[in-house]
Structure formats: C-alpha cells, structure tokens
Amino acid sequence: MINDHAFTVDVEPQMPLLWVIRDFVGLKGTKFGCGISQCGACTVHLDGNPIRSCSFPVSSATGHKITTIEGISAAMDHPVQKAWIELQVPQCGYCHSGQIMSAVALLKKNPKPGDAAIDTAMRNNICRCGTYQRIRKAIHRASELMTTETKKAF
C-alpha cells in the first residue's frame, strides 16, 4: 500500500523501495540523494516511521503501509507543509520531501518537540542549501498549528 493505494509490481526483491516508488509507481516526490542512508532525501514512512527508501529492499515493504510526500495531505494543507510555506523554508527544494517526511514523523510522536528533539530527529536529513534554521523554526510553527487545529476539532 502506497498512500492508501495498493500496487503490485514485478521487480527484483532486492530493488530499493525508492526506485519502485519513483519509476514503477511513478511518484517522483521522493528523491535519490546518496543511496547509502546518509542524506535522507529518500525518506518515506513505513507504517508511520521514517525510513530511508534508497537502502530499503522492496521485498521488506510488502504488506506494509507506505506514505510518501504525495500522501501526507490532499491539498497541501498538512501543518508541516503550511509551516514550510509560511517560513519559506526550501531553496532548491530537492531535500525537502525528505525533510518534511522526517518532520511529520517527529511531530506525530512528539507534538511539542524542543530544539534538542528536533536536532535528533532531523540530523539524518542533509540540506546543502543550508535551510536548517528555517527547518527548526518551521517545526515549532507546525507544532503550534497542530495544537490550534486540534483545538478547533473539538
């Protein structure tokens, strides 16, 4: 299941999930950066947890729920996306699918992370443009937006 749709692909079991998502399922938002789990550009969720899809064999993903950047909201209105837009975080933007996926996973587990928790959760995602200061601010902002939205829901 990728973004709540079931897919069947006929590929080598060792093929990393990344290439299946990009080239067989056709979702290009997840990026190739390093191929060795060092940069986080390929981050997706496996049952809600962030994984590096460049080094994750597709065979291990069968039967699990995969979420990619395209699956976190239908209308670009996930609080993390809203905060990313508000603080104009991306520059080239290439790493930000991965950054956003790591941030979404962090906030799910820890809705009000401090700077240290943000650093720990986000240190596996490299941004060569150097947007880290904005990433940190945007995660705090997304946390606020989530609190407001939760309040509205009641």
Binding site: M15, G33, C34, Q38, M76, H96
Partner: protein, 723 residues
C-alpha cells in the same frame, strides 16, 4: 516556444500553439550581438532587440518568462516579480515559464549572483512598456485621455468612473501600438512586489513533492543508464568484460561512453543501459574493467600541496602594484608573514548530476536537464558533439542545487552520446559516488601573505600572493599561461582598505584534475587568507580587529558602511565572557559585498562551537528581503562546510571522499544561529545576493577561534590540534 525565434518587428505579435491567440511583448535584451542582428526594432534604440517575456492570451492567461534557471536562489520569483511589478499583475495571476535557450532571450545562464543585478532595469522596462501600451489601448477604446486611466491587478481602470477592462481584452489592440521609447517606471514607493518579501511560487510545488527536477523527467520510450568511469583522472580504458552484466535481468545494452569536460578533457566510460535504473546499476557493478592509469594513480594531495609550497618561492605575475611595497616593507620595524592554505571541495548538489537525452534522426538532439543555463548546454553540445545549435532543444527543469557545478554541461553531452548509441531516449543518473569523485572541483588556493605596520600600528604595506591551479587555463582550449588568470586573484586588489603600498602576485600551478567555479568562485578561498591576515596585522598592532579595519577606511565606502552597521548590530563593543570569542571579516568581489561577525565558544572537550553569525549584506536595492536572508543563510552554511568539514583529498590518483559519510556536510545539530541585516539604500545600484554571504565566513570564524583560543588557523579545514 520555438516560434518565438521567427519573431517579426512588431512590439506584440500573434503566435499560435498557445491556447488561441497570444500576444508577446518584446523588450530590450542586454547587448547580445546575435540577437541584435536578428531584430532591429523601430521606435527603440539601434542595439535593442525584441525579446518576448510577456505573453497575454485571449483566455486571460498571462505567462511571464524566467530567463535564469531556478536552483534555489529564487529567480523563479525575483525575475518574473520584477516584470509583474511594472505590469501591474500579482504573481499568483501568472504562469511562470523557464526559457530554453532561445536566441531571442540572449544568453541564459545563472551564475555570478548576476540574475537580478544584470536584469533589473531591463525587466522593469519590459513590464512598464507593456503596461503603458495596455493603458493606451484602453484609452483609445474608451476615447478618453490616457492620464485618466491606470493599470491594476491585470486590468486597466478609468479613474473617474471605475469602469475597467481586463488585459486579455486589450492585448490585441495594444499589439498594434508602437512601443514607448522611454516607458515610465513606477515610483519605488508604489512597489507591491519589489522590496517586499513576496512568497516564492516554486515553494508551493516543492513542499508538495511536485516540483519537477531533471531527475524526475520521463519521456516515452526512455531507458536508464549508469556509467562506469575511472575515478583516477587521466586513465585509459584497456578492456572490459560485460558477460556478467548481460545476465542481469533488465540490462539491454552495454556501450562505450565518453565524458567531455570543457570541450577538451575526454574521459572514457562504459554505459550500462537497462529497463530501469536499478538494473543498470547492478549491471554496472557486474562489469569487469581494466584501466591503464598511465601513472596518474601516483598522484596524491600531500605531494601536490608540497609542490604548491615550493612554487610559492617564485614571483609569478604581479597583478597589482601601488606605492613601493619592497621599500615600505624593508623600512618597517613591525613586519609579519604567513602562509594560508584552502582545500579543494566538491559542489555536492543534493540532486546528483543526471540528464535525459534523446538523439533523434537527422542529428536533432533534445535534452531535459537540471542546468544553470540552457545556453551553456547548447554551447557544450554544439562544441563537443559537432552539432549545430539549431538542432539542439533544451528543457530546463528545477535544479536540485547548482553552486557552479551545473555551469558545466559534461553530463549532457555524455547522455546525448549514450542516447545516440542506444537509439532511444536515455536517462543517465550519476551515483553520489560519481558525483563526489568526478569533479570538477573547486581548486585549492594557497596564499603567501606579507604585511608591515607603521610605528603607531597602521598598515603601511600589504602583499597577497596566490599560488593555485587556474580555472581559466583548466577550462580553455589553448592553455595560455602567458598572462595571469584574473579569476584566481579575485578581489585581492579591490578591497577598500587604504594601504599605501601593496603588491599582489599570482603563480600558476599545473593541475590535471578538472576544476571549476564553485559558489563565490575564488573569493570563497582568498577571503580566508586575506581577512585572517588583516586580523594578524591588527593583533600585531595591538588593536581591536574591527577598529583596525575602520582605521583603514577613511573615505566613504560601502565597506565602511557595512562594517559600521555590523559593529552596531553584533554588539561588537560589548565584551564576551571568557571562553568565547568573536571574529569579523568582510569581502567585496564581483558578486557584491557582505561582512560577518562569528561568535564561537570553547567546549569542555576542547572543541569549538559556532554559536552565532551576524551578517550585513549591502545591496543598494533589494528585490526580495526574505529571499536575500535565505541566500545569506545558505552562503554561511556552505562556507562553514568548506571551512570545517572534510574537503576533497586525493590519494592513489582518486578522491578519498566518495559519499556523504566521508565528505560530510553540516547537519541541523551543528547549525549556528544566523541574523542577517540588509543595507538597501535604494537607487539603481544593485548587488548580488547568492554568493556574497559565503567568502567572509571562513575568515570571521577563524578570527573568532583566535579570539577564543589564541590559536591562529592558517589551513582549512580547521584542525585545532594542528593549529
């Protein structure tokens, strides 16, 4: 957009192929001879050409062309924003399109922090001309005076009655009018976009995973390729065995490949072509290749650097000579000398090099790529593949980082040749290892510094001798070393310090490894030597480093203004607690001017933490303040990586660094706080934004380390143990 090349001498013209009829407004292109010779418009200056940046369709659709690729620096907003400002439309009303190297737009490449500063007035005039013609068209339609009309929000309004007509209904009539000779530009106080932190439209795509980068392109019938190349530069292919490769499911073909850098360095490779990228990669791993390294596997950085230190003994070229350096140096009782070393580094854009190429019948080539310049790709393919420019169609996608790497189009000519061999469109993706090891790299520069002070501690003599490989020689065909390479002494003659006796030198060093511009080019390394040595002189003079600098800036200058502002915003005169230190540096070069104060603290384990960076950038006019801050933040981070991380070192002929585990980048937990201040005093002076934040970082950092520890760092990356 091919039709735009057949443009006539009208201000607007009808073209088909868009939805219905569209009108394209032409405007001044900056002195490009080839364009000027094609079109010579009446009503405009002799050398002015017609360039269609604005397309208004009958449906109401307005398209603005962006002539500089977007690589994170913000041209997707800033350039169309300048046109939109004068045209009186908001950016959410328009579609932005990237140009594709059409001659009519002149040279299209993004580099040198030049996109805004070289296009600002031209693009304003483009928008203003269109606005004026639309207003005139409305006034003629209504048969009322023009001065009773104004444009706003994509419509022309009649001031007294409030009636209005959308641009779409006016465009055809407007197209028949003469373009104004001197369009009236808006008063800056009325700006709605320029000078405001307007949100960047590309960010909406980027947070949704919908921005299409080169690596995301798919075309019908496309196959994938991965290329085995030798990381030992200069090696020759002896033989290869692809029998195991061909057993891998999905592998279609194995062909010889050729990477051509700067049109003159040819590197052989073996391309594995497959149904999918993973199969191509597995096939590549299964190749058995024999290379003849021709002795180049003996090359290593340690030896090479020693040769640069030897070269430092020679004079090389004198690149600046004012006063009498030798006399002033000899007569001074307070002289100092120091030797500074900056390493090679990689660009390491997050999107590795890649390209989709389709070599079609009749030698027609179509390219889809992340590139800093469609014109650059056309030049490179035409030169290296001997194909006429008109046969080449280029589609520029969002760049996942550029930093100067994507000024080279080696990846495009290589992909084109593989497509030719395959007979179908091919997507070539470099692995991170390819991207890290194969360059071109920022060259190392070494600097021999000399300085002398007067008895009362004023700088009386200064010398900066640069010893390095040459970017210009490296990339040109003739290897001309009869003249100094001005790129390699960038900025060293041009700082505003009033030092009466200064003589600077450049010494060529031969180098077989391809090197190229890297964000802020040679200023990225020379500023380190230059501004750290100024600090050493301040220490010798027993003066505060910032005061010492200001004492050499008696005439009014932007540098003086920037340092004065920096002193104030950084709280420079307020002492820091023990164990902490701050350092200052500035650097002015072709791209602009920025200065930093860096604050560091000593940690219990003896390491240094970078706490905070205060930056002041001088612009004259600012187009997007928030984006300017983002660019300075980015420059600081990139400067920090180059100052404290691994860099590129060669052993046994090849780069030791292969991927992000040993070519480490800054991560979020190492991120200092950054506070950026912009000086924008207005006027038409406009300086660059993308690069100036980088050069002052390393010297400000090392000056701060000295302040905190007493250790003078003269070699990067910083190694406290060896200092």
């Amino acid at each position: 957009m091919q039709t735009t090349e057949n443009i006539n001498r009208r201000n607007f013209l009808k073209i088909t192929g868009l939805s219905g009829t569209a009108f394209i407004l032409g405007l001044y292109a900056s002195g490009n001879d080839s364009v000027a010779s094609v079109v010579n418009m009446s009503g405009l200056e002799e050398s002015v050409a017609l360039t269609p940046y604005i397309i208004i369709e009958k449906s109401g659709q307005i398209t603005i062309m962006n002539p500089r690729p977007e690589m994170g620096q913000g041209t997707y907003q800033s350039l169309p924003g300048i046109i939109a400002e004068e045209l009186e439309v908001s950016l959410d009303q328009v579609t932005i399109k990237q140009t594709s190297g059409e001659k009519i737009f002149g040279r299209q490449s993004a580099g040198g922090s030049s996109s805004v500063r070289t296009n600002y007035t031209l693009l304003r005039k483009t928008g203003a001309s269109a606005r004026e013609m639309l207003i005139r068209s409305a006034s003629e339609t209504w048969k009322i005076p023009m001065d009773e009309c104004y444009a706003e929000n994509g419509k022309v309004f009649h001031r007294p009655t409030g009636k209005n007509i959308p641009y779409a209904s006016l465009a055809e009539a407007a197209s028949k009018l003469e373009a104004p000779k001197e369009p009236v530009l808006k008063d800056p106080k009325d700006f709605k976009i320029i000078g405001k932190s307007t949100p960047r439209p590309d960010i909406l795509l980027k947070v949704a995973g919908k921005a299409v980068f080169g690596i995301d392109v798919e075309v019908a019938g496309m196959v994938y390729a991965s290329v085995e190349r030798c990381p030992v530069f200069g090696s020759k292919l002896v033989s290869y065995d692809d029998s195991e490769t061909k057993k891998i499911k999905g592998v279609q073909q194995v062909v010889k490949a050729e990477r051509i850098v700067f049109g003159k360095n040819h590197y052989e490779g073996i391309a594995v072509i497959a149904d999918n990228y993973w199969a191509a990669l597995q096939g590549r791993k299964a190749l058995k290749v024999e290379w003849d390294h021709q002795g180049f596997d003996k090359f290593n950085s340690n030896q090479y650097e020693q040769s640069l230190r030897e070269l430092a003994k020679s004079d090389g070229f004198v690149v600046h000579n004012s006063g009498d350096f030798d006399k002033a140096f000899a007569e001074s009782t307070a002289t100092l000398e120091a030797f500074y070393e900056s390493p090679m580094v990689s660009h390491s854009t997050m999107e590795p090099m890649n390209c989709v190429a389709h070599w079609q019948a009749g030698d027609m080539i179509e390219i889809w790529a992340s590139s800093q310049g469609p014109s650059l790709i056309k030049d490179e393919l035409s030169r290296s593949l001997n194909v006429p420019q008109d046969n080449i169609k280029v589609n520029i996608m969002f760049n996942g980082g550029g930093f100067g790497r994507r000024l080279q189009s080696d990846f495009a000519s290589e992909a084109a040749l593989i497509s030719k061999a395959a007979g179908k469109p091919v997507k070539v993706i470099w692995t991170r290892e390819d991207d890290t090891q194969l360059g071109p790299f920022r060259p190392m520069t070494f600097s021999a510094m000399k300085g002398a002070l007067t008895a009362d501690g004023k700088a009386i003599a200064f010398q900066h001798k640069v010893i390095s490989p040459s970017l210009s020689v490296n990339r040109t065909a003739n290897d001309d070393k009869s003249k100094p390479d001005n790129l390699m002494v960038e900025g060293i003659n041009d700082q505003k310090y009033e030092i009466p006796n200064m003589r600077n030198h450049y010494v060529f060093a031969d180098f077989h490894i391809p090197v190229s511009a890297w964000r802020s080019v040679t200023s990225s390394t020379l500023a380190f030597a230059h501004e750290c040595f100024i600090d050493e002189m301040a220490v010798k003079a027993k003066k505060d480093p910032l005061v010492f600098r200001l004492e050499m800036l008696n005439k009014e200058s932007d540098t003086k203004k920037v340092l004065t502002k920096l002193r104030e915003v950084s709280g420079w005169d307020k002492p820091l607690p023990k164990g902490r230190g701050r350092g200052v540096a500035q650097y002015e070069f072709f791209a602009g001017l920025c200065a930093h104060v860096v604050e560091v603290s000593r940690q219990a384990n003896g390491s240094i933490k970078v706490d905070k960076v205060f930056a002041v950038i001088d612009l004259g006019t600012v187009v997007n303040p928030d984006n300017t801050k983002a660019q300075v933040e980015g420059g600081i981070v990139m400067g920090l990586v180059a100052a404290i991380k691994d860099g590129i070192r060669f052993e046994n002929g090849k780069s030791i660094q292969t991927n992000f585990h040993n070519n480490r980048m800054l991560r979020i937990d190492e991120m200092p706080q950054i506070e950026v201040h912009i000086i924008a005093d207005g006027g038409n002076t406009i300086k660059g934004v993308g690069e100036p934040g980088l050069p002052p970082l390393a010297p400000a950092l090392c000056n701060a380390i000295f302040a905190a520890t007493g250790k003078r760092i003269r070699r990067l990356p910083v190694d406290l143990a060896k200092a």
